[in-house]
Amino acid sequence: MEPELAIALPAVGAVLTAILHPRPRAALLAGALLGAGGIAAVLLAAPGLASDLLGVSLSVSAMSRTLLLAAAASLALIVAFPPPRADRAMLLAWGLAGIAGMAAIAAAPSLDLVILLTLVIALLHAALGGQRPLAARLRAPALAVALLGAGLVFARFDGSTILARFAAIGLVAGLAAALGTLPYIHEFDPDELTATSPIAWIAFLGPILALAVITRARELIPAAGAIFAAMLIGLGLLNVLWGGLASWLTDKGMSAWHYSFMADWGLVLCAFGILVADGQAAAVLLLFGIVLSRLPLYLWSRQSLRERIQTDRPVNLLAAAMLAGAAPFAGFAARLFLLRGATQLYWPLALVIGVGLLLWLPPSLRLGRSLGTPRGRLALGVAIALSLSVAVGLYPQPLLSLAGL
């Protein structure tokens, strides 16, 4: 019954935290306890072992479990070391709701359910409120659901082989639309709360959704597997190029962060497109970086971005190095796996990716400087994020073993 608990406990935790919001300590305590329970259930869930308590057989794969743990760790980091003037109880409530949704997606037995759950999350996320109208907030995720659904439908049709290709198009385009990567960039309002902004999709919910869609899509359209992978790599390279250049050259600091997530996702898509174990390992490490490094740093830098503060302290440069995937941070190990996977697949691809990797540095320096000078708890949070990344960069095996690689 672990998968059910992994979904239910964070969901209940989110509701309780929201209800107890007027009494922040109680809300935080309840949320933290139930969230911890949910994570414990994730940890205890044997990868691949199905549970059928509710008449639906739920099981969490090893990779999904790893990403869920990373997301939970990220949430814990953000709530424990919140950005200035942030409402910790609301952060926790939204985060737990997200984790519940992610756990449900991870445990869902079929792509049909994954898509429907995505629609549920899209509706709830759009209903959270924010400065953009609901229709605008719902547009891209709902289009993603429609495209994924169309892909699924085409995959199940019998007939011409071209149907499998259409299925691949639907699934890849739907995934890109769900994540908000090029060409389906979600409308981004810099002043919007992170939880209600597209960052929630690209940095928090996206990893699990991508994993669920891609792993199931491979089983669904074996005939078009090569085209599916090629499209992932193509879109990935497009996002690497766009994300790198745009986050470097855009005038708006917040948008620079938004684009940098796209650049990271470009690498993830390339990694998923490389159908060897090294590609999957690279994807896991990159997603770990997105969830546990880039997302917290983005949240912590928002205040100094608003105040237009730029600093050049060691912490800024180390953060820049981490964002750029320089050694010894996790990004470097991920890039190593990516290059090795690409070399096994087709070495010129490794060359292209290698050249693309150099695009990270200028924007990363800019983003690192935008972190300002973290003080007190925030400095400790940044230090923990940096240390985690170094630990995984130097010794990625535990994380990869957890992901079953």
């Binding site: 290709r165 389906y184 050049d312 320089a326 050694a327 010894p328 090795r340 095996q397 535990p398």
Partner: protein, 550 residues
């Protein structure tokens, strides 16, 4: 000694960094002492680990997650390069005051550099070398964000390229361990990538690279540390390449090309040095010049060349500690440093250069021609040195960072070590050479007093000791040399330099013509990509459909 002990030269600087950070946060002003103790302790540990056994010691680290099992390896090459990194770093960290943040990053950088040379395979070297590069950049930017520093992207590219080399080796042969990779895996393209990595990692360019630009910074704390920790790493890769290739590079022409690049690097440094406007600018070209000669020696592909190259790196490492401590003013100290760097007889710099050139001639054509070019380059560097003796000192870096007596001592050590050339080779270079390039049967590079080459014997003690004694007596009797510092025009203006400068300026100031700017208007592109909405999305879908169904 247990195998785990070979982690000490890495762990001690790491612990030192932690301790310095704690001292800094706690406000205890003992961080400099901690740095000194830590780095010297690392040197002691390295010697204590190597000296008693003088044979390779391995420590399996198991599966770190980089594909194949990783291991730490302390062998002759690791020992030599470990000393080349640690000694100058220890001297600088001991004598130069620096804020605790800088000290922490510097100690971490030292640990990373030592890990790079102690790792048993390409992958771990790439990770550690990349970390050392990152930390050096951080250190330089923290010291002065506006001053010139190595381009981070270029260094990152170098270490990424090395990780790609490791990946290729793993894919082809199942391992990237230096001693385990089969010779056949080191193909020409793989070696070319490795060599490019090495050249970029150490900034070995004919034009003015970071190793010379760094000396133009207003402060020389981080510059010295960056050169001490990063500069040897590229050469380390070239030496290890011999181990992978079982004592040779895949093709002889690759050696010729590398040696040619070495001549160009040394010549570029000498050409810039003879046109330097200040003594400081001249000193900035000293290490690139030595690097060029070291590259020539290492590329020759003979045991003699390799030991000469490694010994030249030892001179460069000593100068990397000496130059930041040298105050920017005239006087005997700067003259001795110039003499030591220029390779006047009977100094160590003279002896190693002689051996390096000899190796080129003994390797046959076309290396012999490269040797002639290198000899001409040496003459040009001597011209630059002679001219530099009378140059104005240049903008002085803070006196608190300098230590004239130690600087003088290090320069004198280079000069006095000339007669001990055989000893230096026997301790530092020959064991490393023997590991990566076994000498042909019966060929022995000689003992402590003389260096035997294929065609001659260099009686270092017998020839250089009298010269040294005579020099000491003669200079003492001659009294101090009074040279009036004055602005001096470049000795020779090399043809084409002004054209090259114009071309560079034109490239730097190149802009997109006005009528085409709209094509590369990022704002418009950004607006289209983010605000395009349904139409763009549908167009993208159609494009995807067209792409996969045509």
């Amino acid at each position: 000694m247990p195998a785990i002990a070979i982690i000490a030269p890495v762990a001690i600087p790491l612990a030192t960094a932690g301790s310095v950070a704690i001292c800094g946060v706690a406000g205890w002003k003992i961080d400099r002492i901690v740095l000194a103790v830590g780095t010297w302790l690392a040197i002691v540990a390295l010697i204590a680990l190597w000296a008693p056994v003088r044979s390779t010691q391995d420590l399996g680290l198991g599966q770190l997650g980089f594909g194949t099992p990783s291991e730490l390896r302390l062998d002759a090459v690791g020992f030599t390069f470990g000393l080349l990194v640690l000694v100058p770093a220890a001297i600088l960290l001991t004598l130069q005051p620096r804020p605790w943040q800088e000290g922490t990053v510097a100690a971490l950088g030292v640990a990373a550099a030592v890990l790079a040379v102690e790792s048993g395979g390409v992958i771990l070297t790439a990770v550690a070398g990349g970390a050392a590069a990152t930390l050096a950049i951080v250190q330089l930017d923290v010291e002065d964000p506006r001053a010139s520093r190595p381009p981070w992207g270029v260094l990152l590219a170098a270490w990424l390229a090395l990780s790609w080399v490791g990946a290729i080796l793993q894919v082809r042969s199942g391992t990237a361990g230096y001693s385990a990779v089969p010779v056949s895996a080191l193909t020409v393209p793989v070696f070319a990538l490795l060599a490019a990595t090495a050249l970029i990692a150490s900034g070995l360019y004919p034009w003015r690279g970071w190793p010379s630009q760094l000396w133009g910074r207003p402060a020389l704390r981080s510059a010295g540390m960056a050169v001490a920790t990063l500069y040897p790493l590229g050469f380390y890769l070239l030496v290890r390449a011999y181990e992978i290739g079982d004592g040779r590079y895949p093709q002889f022409w690759l050696q010729v090309v590398l040696a040619g690049i070495g001549v160009l690097v040394a010549f570029g440094a000498a050409a810039r040095a003879q046109g330097a406007s200040t003594r400081r600018a001249y000193l900035g070209e000293v290490i690139p010049g030595l690097g060029g000669f070291a590259l020539i020696g290492i590329s020759v592909g003979t045991p003699l060349g390799l030991v000469a190259g490694i010994a030249t790196l030892a001179v460069a490492a000593t100068l990397a500690a000496c130059l930041p401590l040298l105050p920017d003013r005239g006087g005997p100290t700067s003259l001795v440093v110039i003499a030591a760097a220029a390779g006047l007889p009977p100094g160590l710099a003279f002896g190693v250069r002689v051996l390096g050139l000899e190796a080129t001639f003994e390797a046959g054509t076309p290396m012999g021609l490269i040797g002639i070019a290198a000899a001409a380059t040496w003459i040009l560097s001597i011209i630059a040195a002679a001219r530099a003796a009378g140059l104005p000192a240049g903008r002085g870096h803070p006196a608190s960072e300098t230590e004239p007596r130690v600087s003088m001592g290090l320069a004198l050590a280079i000069v006095v070590a000339g007669p001990a050339l055989g000893l230096v080779l026997a301790v530092l270079a020959t064991p490393a050479q023997a590991l990566v390039m076994p000498s042909p049967a019966g060929v022995n590079l000689g003992g402590l007093t003389a260096v035997a080459t294929v065609s001659t014997v260099l009686p270092a003690v017998a020839l250089f000791t009298p010269v040294l004694l005579l020099a000491v007596l003669a200079y003492y009797y001659a009294g101090p040399m009074t040279v009036r510092a004055q602005d001096r025009a470049a000795f020779v203006v090399l043809p084409g330099t002004d054209r090259f400068a114009r071309l560079r300026e034109a490239l730097r100031s190149a802009t997109v013509p006005a009528q085409y700017r709209s094509l590369v208007d990022l704002r418009a592109l950004e607006a289209a990509a983010t605000g395009g909405g349904p139409l763009l999305w549908l167009a993208a879908l159609v494009a995807l459909a067209f792409a996969v169904t045509r």
